[in-house]
């Protein structure tokens, strides 16, 4: 199953640009949605459910964790693959993010084609619940 749409959430325009460029390089067919913080992302998600979300942690207004909390609480249908994309690895952050069932992966910036390929595989797995990694 191919990824058709990805929501990228980041407050840094450069990072959004990198994501958009890399996604286009990975598959020009994928539709890229943008949000600059958690609240904007929630607004986008109320109208559409993308196949994947790429989420930064440190953002003004509503950060990545606040977003995950609200997304888990308010929405019954979640994007099948949510990947955290952050500039530094911190053990506690990683564990906290992966405790949400829809958070499938945790990447370090900048986003690469390999990251996107992994996300695509994860999407395949999650569409077939039996093979879901656990």
């Amino acid at each position: 199953m191919r990824i058709r749409s990805i929501l990228t959430v980041d407050d840094d325009e450069n990072d959004l640009f990198i994501c958009a460029y890399t996604i286009r390089k990975f598959d020009p067919e994928v539709k890229t949605l943008k949000a600059m913080n958690g609240r904007e992302a929630l607004v986008v998600l109320r109208t559409t459910t993308p196949d994947a979300i790429i989420l930064d942690i440190n953002m003004p207004v509503m950060n990545g964790f606040e977003f995950l909390e609200q997304y888990a609480r308010e929405f019954s249908v979640h994007a099948p693959v949510v990947a955290m994309l952050t500039s530094s690895h911190l053990g506690s952050d990683r564990g906290k993010a992966l405790s949400y069932h829809f958070v499938k992966s945790y990447f370090e910036k900048p986003l690469t084609l390999a990251n996107l390929r992994l996300m695509s595989e994860l999407l395949d797995l999650s569409s077939d619940p039996v093979k879901r990694p656990g």
Partner: protein, 644 residues
Amino acid sequence: MHYERFGKVAAQAISWICVAIASAVLAAWLTRSIALVQIVPTLFAMQFNTSLCFIATGLAFHLAVANTRRPTLAIVLSAAAACIPLASLIQQIFVVDLGIDRLLYDPFVTVGVDHAGRMVPNAAICFILVSAAIIMTAVRGRNSLARVLCGLIVFVIASSALLGYVIGVESSHNWRPLAQMSPQTAFCFSLLAGGLVFIGAREREYPRSTIAAMLAVVTYLLLLLFAYMEMPHQNALAENLQDDGSNPRSTLLGIVLLSGALYAGMFAFSFRSSQLYRDVAGRLQESEKRLAAIIETAVDGFITIDARGKVLAVNPACEKIFGYRADEILQQNVSMLMPTPYHEAHNQYLENYRITGRAKIIGIGREVEGRRKDGSTFPLDLSVAKVELDHQVIYSGIVRDISERKKYEKDILEANAELEEFSYRTSHDLRSPIASSLGLVGIARDMIDTGDTQDLKQVLGRIETSFRKLDHLIQNIISLTRTKAMEEAESRIPIAQTVRETLERLHYMENAERLRVDIAIDDELTTMRRASRFQIIIDNLLSNAIKYQDPVQTRPEIRIGATVNSGNLVLTVADNGLGIEPGTEHHLFQMFKRLHPQHSFGSGLGLYILKKSVEQLGGTVAYNRLQAGSLFTVTLPEKNHHAH
């Protein structure tokens, strides 16, 4: 220990002297020598029975009082010795002859008594009392009140008789005519009685010197009474013939001398005790003063309470700590110094301790809460000691106000948390622009490889902004450390000029030229500050206003003012920019809080640095929402209270 040994030696000496004197008299009786009677008739005034009783009593005294080792034998001896005087007394009272007087020995001569060989009544009474006292001592193994009383009576009787011999008062030893207590009998009884009264006195802790004085006085009075009763009789006698020196004049002289001696003795005694008292009182006062000086000047509070919790004493430090005057605390329950729920429970604590003896705080010390007069509570260190006095138990507490220490602890914890936050955020934020640049460099290379170079310039521009962002963050971190660490002398700063120069310097900032700037500051206004810190404050206020201007506002502006208001320098920067969202104000001056969604250029440190710098100069910074935009007010005390 010394006293104990002295008592023992004295008791032994008394018993042996008694036994020796009685044995001598006994021997004299056994010689039946008429010649001896003619030389010392008084020797035979102690009857055979009496001397026998003295030997038994002397031995019993030794066993019971000096040794306390063989009480049974002492009791048997005393009881045997008491039988003869008891029988003599019965004969005397009921005027019968039971044959006791001559049972053991038939006297060959009769001196001082009307019945040959009969013990005189005063000696009989003395024997009965002494025997009773010895039996009591043997049974109980120690001195007792009854024994002391017996001893007192015997002593008064015997010593007055003895003194009567000295000053010629006959009735003191002859209670009725021809019933003479011989001087050696009186002497032995005095010794025995003295021993009964004073040996072992320390065990019972009664005032020995007072008793001795009382004995002297009572003996003296008794003697006086005998002399008074005897005087008319002596007068009549004196008119006829003078023989044995017992004339009224010599008796009077004797009494005067005795009075004088007694008075002199008492005077010397009272003089010595008063001196001793003054000495002791002086030393006590000095040690009290020394102790008081320590307690009065102590930084810690001292409180003494009784077993019910009533405050007995407090020191000045206590008044300072709790805000009460001493007279407001004294006699009150100490629970008034405790907040709820300790206030209500304290009496129960004391009661529990009294019942169970299980200390929760005594001798341990712990951190508790205190309550000041104004009702505020504060943490304090409390240690309590139990003091057992003669008549009551009191508790002495030492309290130390530790709110300062607690505050520092809290400050340190906060600073530590802030530092952790700082390292967490810097590790993230320092890497963030580098990660972006790496990603962008990868894209640029990809563009060159694929020959798709039309957007290359834009990507390079993005790389540049990333590095600018990194540079800005590093600059901020540097100024933050400088705010914290730098020592600097104060200089006079022209405020209006500084503002203008700063605005010129910030002109490179995006859209800086769009702003209309209104500076309402007197050109003459200056302030004495540490220049670099003041500069950091101005920089942050102005760059903030430029950065967060509203892009859709057609006439963006900044109004900058500075006045001196009641000793404070008040700096105001108002703008009609973006402002901040209501409800997020409390994040405004926190580290790494960026509140503007579309403007990610900030490091999140600007207002934090502003706040820290203002605090370093002892001032405050406040934010107010305007209808359009923000108003920042920085207040710096003109009299510089340097906070470090």
